[in-house]
C-alpha cells in the first residue's frame, strides 16, 4: 500500500506513520506486510466491533502520535476496553507474533538475575506513564465536556442511506463516513467497471448495496432502486451527490448541456416523487426522511465554459427550496430538504494546488458535516463559510466585476 493511499475508515485504521509510532511504542520493528494485513483487518473493524461513542469516540478521532499512543494504551486498558486503539495494539502484537522475526524480537526476554532488575525498570516506567496519563485523561475530559454543546450528531446505526455517485470523490467519502457511523449504504455508480473497482476496494463485510444507474439516462435512478426492490420507506437519508461538469465546453453545446441537467438536476427531480410516494407516507411516519441535494456555491453566479454546470446547480438549489415549500405547506410528510452548497473543497473537479489545499475544507470533513446536517434537518450547508460570504460579496459587485474576476481566476487555475 502506498504512503499516500487514503484510509477507508480513519476512526479504526491507521496510516503507515501511525503504525510506525505504534511499533516504536511497543518496541518492535515495523514490517510492511504486517501493516498491509493490519490495514485490511481494521478496514473490517466497523462491521465486527461496537462503534466507539461519546468520550471514547472523542479520544479516537485525532491522529496518533507516539505520545498519544502511550496515553491511549494506558487509559483504554484501564477504562475504555472497547476503544479502537485496543484493536490496533492487539492486532499489531498478534501479527508480529505470527511472523518469525517478529516473534523472535518480541519473545527475547531477560534471564536469571536480569529478570528482577528488568521488572523493576519496567514497573517504574509503567508508573511514570501512568503519572502522565492520568492528568492527560483529566484534561481530555475537560475538553470533551467543554465541547459537548457544540458536538454534531452522527449516529447512523441501523439507518439506510442512499448516496449517488459513490465510486469517487465526495460520494465515496459520504459512503465511507456513513459506513463508519454504523449505517447501511445503497450506493449508485455509473457502470459495471466502476462497480467492480469499488467492490475490490471495499471490505467484504461492509453493508453496502451497489447499484448501477447511469444518471444521464432519464428515470435510471428510480428504475435501479425499484429493480433492487428497495422501498422508499426504508431510506433514512437520500443524498443526491452525483454530478457532471464538462470543463471547457460552451454553454451552447446542447447535447452536453442536456446531459449536465439530466445528471445534476433531473435525477433529483425524478427521485423526489418516488420518495414522496403515498406508500412511503403511510409506513415511514415515525422517522423523517432527509433529502440532501449536493449543489454548489457556483449556483449563485454564471460561469463560462463549464457547459451550464452552474445553471444546473442553480436549478437544483431553487427547485429544492421550492420542493421544501410545497412539502411544508401540504404538511403531509416529515420530509426535510437539505441543500448543500460547498464552496472550495478537495474534489475531483478542482485542481489541487497549494492555495486550494490551504483554503479548502477536506472532503471527509464535508461528508461528516453533510450527514450531521441531514440528521439535524438543517436546510442549508455552505462549507467553508468564508467562501460563501466571499461569493455573495462578489455577486453583489455586479456582472462586469464578476466577468473580470472569473476570467482571471480561471486562466490562473488552468495555467497551473
Amino acid at each position: 500500500m502506498s504512503e499516500e493511499a487514503q484510509l477507508l475508515f480513519p476512526l479504526w485504521q491507521i496510516d503507515q506513520q501511525e503504525y510506525r509510532a505504534v511499533c516504536a511504542h511497543l518496541g518492535i520493528t515495523p514490517k510492511a506486510q504486517v501493516y498491509d494485513r493490519l490495514s485490511a483487518y481494521l478496514a473490517n473493524a466497523p462491521f465486527r466491533f461496537p462503534r466507539p461513542e461519546g468520550f471514547s469516540l472523542f479520544l479516537a478521532s485525532p491522529r496518533l502520535t507516539r505520545f498519544r499512543i502511550a496515553r491511549l494504551d494506558m487509559v483504554t486498558k484501564l477504562f475504555l476496553p472497547h476503544h479502537p486503539i485496543r484493536h490496533v495494539l492487539n492486532g499489531v502484537i498478534a501479527l508480529h507474533e505470527c511472523d518469525a522475526e517478529g516473534y523472535r524480537e518480541m519473545s527475547a526476554a531477560p534471564a536469571g538475575w536480569a529478570v528482577p532488575l528488568s521488572l523493576l525498570g519496567w514497573m517504574s516506567g509503567f508508573v511514570w506513564r501512568l503519572a502522565i496519563s492520568v492528568p492527560w485523561l483529566g484534561l481530555r475530559l475537560v475538553g470533551y465536556g467543554a465541547g459537548a454543546p457544540f458536538r454534531r450528531k452522527g449516529e447512523l446505526t441501523a439507518k439506510r442511506i442512499l448516496v449517488t455517485g459513490v465510486n469517487r470523490g465526495l460520494g465515496m467519502d459520504l459512503m465511507l463516513h456513513c459506513l463508519e457511523q454504523g449505517g447501511e449504504v445503497v450506493g449508485t455508480v455509473r457502470n459495471v467497471q466502476a462497480l467492480e473497482e469499488l467492490k475490490a476496494r471495499l471490505p467484504a463485510q461492509a453493508p453496502v448495496m451497489l447499484l448501477i444507474a447511469d444518471l444521464s439516462r432519464p428515470g435510471a435512478l428510480v428504475e435501479a432502486l425499484d429493480k433492487a426492490q428497495i422501498p422508499a420507506a426504508s431510506l433514512a437519508i437520500a443524498i443526491l451527490n452525483a454530478g457532471v461538469k464538462y470543463d471547457g465546453e460552451s454553454v451552447l453545446s446542447l447535447d452536453n448541456l442536456r446531459d449536465t441537467f439530466q445528471v445534476n438536476f433531473f435525477s433529483a427531480a425524478e427521485l423526489a416523487p418516488w420518495l414522496c410516494a403515498p406508500a412511503t407516507q403511510e409506513t415511514g411516519a415515525a422517522d423523517p426522511v432527509a433529502l440532501v441535494l449536493v449543489s454548489s456555491m457556483g449556483r449563485w453566479h454564471g460561469m463560462h465554459y463549464v457547459c451550464g454546470y452552474n445553471a444546473s446547480k442553480a436549478a437544483l438549489s431553487i427547485w429544492g427550496e421550492s420542493l421544501e415549500m410545497e412539502l411544508r405547506q401540504s404538511g403531509k410528510r416529515r420530509f426535510t430538504v437539505t441543500i448543500v452548497e460547498p464552496g472550495i473543497f478537495e474534489s475531483g473537479m478542482i485542481r489541487r494546488t497549494a492555495l486550494t489545499r490551504l483554503l479548502s475544507v477536506s472532503r471527509q470533513d464535508v461528508a461528516r458535516r453533510i450527514v450531521s446536517a441531514a440528521l439535524a434537518g438543517e436546510r442549508a450547508l455552505r462549507p467553508p463559510v468564508w467562501f460563501a460570504l466571499l461569493t455573495w460579496a462578489v455577486c453583489l459587485a455586479g456582472r462586469d466585476f464578476r466577468y473580470r474576476l472569473f476570467t482571471r481566476a480561471k486562466t490562473t487555475v488552468d495555467r497551473r
Binding site: 495494539l89 502484537i93 505470527c98 526476554a109 509503567f126 467484504a204
Partner: protein
C-alpha cells in the same frame, strides 16, 4: 434382514463398528464425514512454522484474520481456520438452540477425537456408583480398548491406586523443565499435599511415545493445531482404518441421520439428510447403534420418540456436561528460566484430588499445563497493564506461567434436558436447557479453594479462576441414560422402547464422572456392541 447401521464415526462409532466386525457381522457406519485439510510441513515445530509457511498469519489467524481474538473477548484461543472443520455450531446442519447451554458439535470423521486433549482414564467402581453396570463388567471392555489404543503413562506412581483400569503401554510423554520443577516440589511436599487429598503425577495420554514407532510423538508443540504424525489417538486414523481391513465394513459419508421410523417396537427405517443433494431420504435397517455423540443421539432419539409415541413428552431424561474451571498460576521457580524448546503441547501432568462426599465421585480430575505452542497475544491483552508493559512482562515470566484445569462431574438433574421446541424447519430443532445446581456450585467453590491451597504448596501463585460457560466442557452425556422407563436404555445400551436400537455413546451414561470420558466412550461402545443380540 439384519442390516446393522452405526450412526456416527467418532470414538464410540468406531469402536462399536470394530467390535461388531470382530464378531463376524457386516456393518455400515453413517456419518456426515467432514475432513480436515492436510497439515503443512511435517516435522516442523509450532514456532518454526512461522518461518516455514509462506503466509503464517493466514494459517494461524485466517486469511481475513477472522481467527484473531479481539481484545474484549473472553476467549484465550480460537481454533485456527485449518481446524474449523471440527466444531460446527456455524454449520447449517447444526440443529440445536441454547437455553443456558452453549454447546459445540462435530460433523468430522472421527468426531471431537480430532481435537481432544488425549487424557486416557477409566471410570472406577466409585465413578460407576449409580450405574446399573459394575466396574468388573466394564473391565473387559476397558482392557480391549487399552489394547486398541496405545496409552503413554507411568506404570506406577502416586496416582496409580486412584486410577484402576488404566493400562499404559507406552513410556510417559517427555516432561518440560517446568513440569520437572513442579514434580520435584510435589515430591518434597507430598505429605502436606496428601492432607489436602492431592496427588500429582505424569498424565496418562493416548499418545504414541515409543520412539521405534513411525507415528511416535516428535514434540512439535502442534497438538492443538492438528498433529501431522497422528501420534495422538484419532479413530479416523486408526480404529476406522482397522475396520476398513474387514470386507463387511462400509463407511457411508454425507448422511446426517435425523430420526428413525418404527413399527411393533422395532426400528424399521432410518430417515436422513443426504448432505450432497440436500434431500431427505429413508432407508430400511435391521439394527441401529446410535453413536453420534450425546447431543445428536439425544436429538435423533427425541424425534423418533415423538413420531412413535406422541403422548410421551418430547424431552430427554437428562443433559450433562463437565464444568471446566481454569486456575492460572505462576510457578515462582520458573521465573527467568528459558522456555521449553519443543514439547508435547497438552497437559503432561495431572493433579488428582480426593473428596469424600456422598453426592459426587471421590476423584476430581485436574490437569496441569505449562504454556507452549500457543499464540500468546490474547494472554498479553489480558494482563492488567498497558500493552507496552504487558508484552515485555509476559515474555519475561512465560516459562513460569501455567494453568490448572479442573473438570467437575455432573449428574442427571430435573430441568436439564434436550427438548423439541421448534417445528418450523425441515426437521425439528432441539433446545438445550441447562441450569447449574446449588450443591454443584458449593462443590466447585470448595474444590477451587482447595486447589488454590494445593497450588500454593506446590510453590505456585494462583491468580483468579476462569469458569467456562455450561456446554463448553464438551463432555456431553446422559441424554438417553441407562435406567428404567421409555426414555432410557438398559444396562447393555439397548433402548427400553425399541428392541433393535442401541445407545452406544455417552448418551447412555447415567452420571458423568470427572475423569476424561473418551476411553469410557470406547469401552461402553465396545461393551454394547459385544452384548447386542445380532
Amino acid at each position: 434382514m439384519n442390516r446393522i447401521v452405526i450412526v456416527g464415526a467418532g470414538v464410540s462409532g468406531a469402536h462399536a463398528a470394530l467390535t461388531i466386525l470382530e464378531r463376524g457381522h457386516d456393518v455400515e457406519v453413517w456419518d456426515v464425514g467432514r475432513e480436515e485439510t492436510n497439515f503443512p510441513d511435517e516435522g516442523v515445530s509450532f514456532h518454526d512454522l512461522k518461518s516455514r509457511l509462506p503466509d503464517p498469519a493466514a494459517y494461524f489467524l485466517g486469511p481475513d484474520l477472522g481467527g484473531l481474538v479481539p481484545p474484549t473477548s473472553s476467549e484465550l484461543l480460537r481454533y485456527p481456520p485449518s481446524r474449523q472443520f471440527l466444531a460446527s455450531t456455524e454449520d447449517p446442519l447444526w440443529s440445536f438452540t441454547s437455553d443456558g447451554f452453549s454447546a459445540q458439535g462435530s460433523f468430522a470423521k472421527g468426531g471431537f477425537a480430532n481435537g481432544w486433549g488425549a487424557n486416557a482414564l477409566a471410570f472406577d467402581e466409585n465413578d460407576l456408583s449409580g450405574w446399573p453396570v459394575s466396574f468388573s463388567e466394564m473391565e473387559a471392555a476397558y482392557k480391549t480398548v487399552y489394547e486398541r489404543i496405545p496409552v503413554a503413562g507411568p506404570r506406577d506412581d502416586d496416582l496409580t491406586p486412584l486410577l484402576p483400569g488404566v493400562h499404559p503401554s507406552q513410556p510417559p510423554v517427555r516432561l518440560t523443565p517446568a513440569d520437572e520443577r513442579l514434580l520435584q516440589t510435589y515430591q518434597r511436599r507430598k505429605r502436606t499435599l496428601a492432607k489436602l487429598g492431592v496427588k500429582v503425577g505424569a498424565a496418562r495420554l493416548a499418545v504414541v511415545t515409543d520412539p521405534s514407532r513411525r507415528d511416535a510423538c516428535d514434540y512439535l508443540d502442534r497438538c492443538l493445531w492438528g498433529c501431522p504424525r497422528a501420534s495422538i489417538y484419532n479413530p479416523r486414523m486408526s480404529t476406522l482404518k482397522e475396520c476398513e481391513a474387514y470386507s463387511g465394513f462400509r463407511y457411508v459419508r454425507g448422511r446426517l441421520v435425523l430420526s428413525l421410523l418404527s413399527g411393533d417396537g422395532k426400528i424399521t427405517r432410518i430417515r436422513y439428510l443426504d448432505t450432497a443433494t440436500d434431500q431427505i431420504r429413508e432407508e430400511p435397517c435391521g439394527a441401529v447403534f446410535l453413536a453420534a455423540g450425546a447431543l445428536q443421539t439425544g436429538a435423533i432419539f427425541l424425534r423418533t420418540l415423538k413420531a412413535a409415541q406422541p403422548d410421551i413428552s418430547a424431552q430427554t431424561e437428562g443433559l450433562m456436561d463437565t464444568s471446566v474451571v481454569r486456575i492460572p498460576f505462576v510457578q515462582l521457580r520458573g521465573v527467568g528460566q528459558p522456555p521449553a524448546a519443543r514439547s508435547f503441547q497438552f497437559n503432561r501432568l495431572i493433579l488428582g484430588m480426593i473428596t469424600e462426599t456422598a453426592l459426587w465421585p471421590r476423584y476430581l480430575h485436574g490437569e496441569l499445563l505449562h504454556l507452549t505452542g500457543l499464540l500468546y497475544y490474547p494472554l498479553i491483552e489480558r494482563l492488567p497493564f498497558d500493552s507496552r508493559l504487558s508484552k515485555k512482562l509476559f515474555f519475561a515470566i512465560r516459562s513460569a506461567l501455567g494453568a490448572a484445569t479442573f473438570f467437575f462431574p455432573d449428574r442427571i438433574t430435573s430441568g436439564n434436558h434436550q427438548a423439541i421446541t421448534d417445528h418450523s424447519g425441515r426437521w425439528e430443532k432441539i433446545q438445550l436447557r441447562y441450569r447449574e445446581t446449588e450443591d454443584k456450585e458449593n462443590y466447585i467453590l470448595q474444590s477451587v479453594s482447595r486447589a488454590r491451597s494445593a497450588l500454593r504448596r506446590l510453590a505456585c501463585v494462583p491468580r483468579g479462576a476462569v469458569r467456562s460457560p455450561p456446554g463448553a466442557g464438551i463432555h456431553y452425556a446422559g441424554t438417553v441414560p441407562m435406567g428404567e422407563g421409555p426414555k432410557r436404555c438398559g444396562p447393555t445400551g439397548r433402548s427400553n422402547l425399541f428392541s433393535n436400537l442401541y445407545i452406544a455413546d455417552g448418551a447412555a451414561f447415567p452420571s458423568l464422572p470427572s475423569k476424561s470420558i473418551t476411553m469410557s466412550l470406547a469401552a461402553h461402545a465396545t461393551r454394547v456392541a459385544r452384548s447386542a443380540p445380532l
